[in-house]
Symmetry: C2
Subunit: 158 residues, 2 copies
Amino acid sequence: MFRISKLTDYGTVVLARLAEADEELLSATEIAAATGLGTPTVSKLLKQLARAELVTSERGANGGYRLARAPGAITAAEIIDALEGPVAITECSGQDSSCEFEEVCTVGNSWQQINLQIRRALADISLTELQKARPVIPTFRLVPMPAGIPRGNKSDQH
Amino acid sequence: MFRISKLTDYGTVVLARLAEADEELLSATEIAAATGLGTPTVSKLLKQLARAELVTSERGANGGYRLARAPGAITAAEIIDALEGPVAITECSGQDSSCEFEEVCTVGNSWQQINLQIRRALADISLTELQKARPVIPTFRLVPMPAGIPRGNKSDQH
DNA sequence: TTTAAATAGTACTAAAATAGTCCTGTATTC
DNA sequence: GAATACAGGACTATTTTAGTACTATTTAAA
């Protein structure tokens, strides 16, 4: 129905590893080795997580990453925001919406309600809890978007 | 963060039109004309909605579609299930999971919790409410998946 | 009883989004 | 100053989503 991207999933693996390491500084290479993910991907993820201030980095030789906060203070919502961008179900449901029909839209419409509830659920889950859900090495694989939908259209709603 | 597909969004437009029409039988062509969507797409959507038993169809000349139930009895969760498949955030969080690590997984893990809460939120919103959120003709366009993520990986977690 | 309108199903094509790689630059340690 | 590691961005490949086309079946009406 919904899904998180593979990279976001990997991101939680990376963060879980950092959580395990406690305060220790780990390099992207080390994390890649520990998790079985590719080094470039891990590197990419860590850069994004650093920009989102979920991890802090130290550059130069012996550099690396550590969590910026305690695992209990990092939420699933933040992780997803960091790796997928703060996007909402429909354009109107984002706070920074640019939907040209916005003025016409009913304020507080249902998609927005749904979006809010989803965010609330995600903000309620911390990295600590996600770690529990994921013993040692990644056990989830992401669901390929399902069979889905046949075919058949042409024009777009304007 | 999450998003519904364009087709799902169109699907709610189509259903909203049928809801307006009350019990009247509408053909795919008529709905396409009324909504501004392409006929083949509307047709495709209606086929799927019919398979999911959200609409009923009559074949042959003068055939068409109508809602299978009152709009208040059709939920957002059902619409999404019908058009995107009953997929969950990660493979493990679906009921029919085939994750090979499942035995190792903590039962009732956090992604499952999140997924449940999302479903609950979606099951709480009816077509009637979605209609209110969407005055007359489609006012939403879907958010293109955001800037997102740089690049960098190779191997997969097994 | 034939024709036309309409749904059912499926295969295919095109476009867009996601995932993954690489390269260049900068900071830091030894 | 050489080696290590992060920062940032451009680029490529793969996968998913969206959209189209075609064939079969059903039904009503001429």
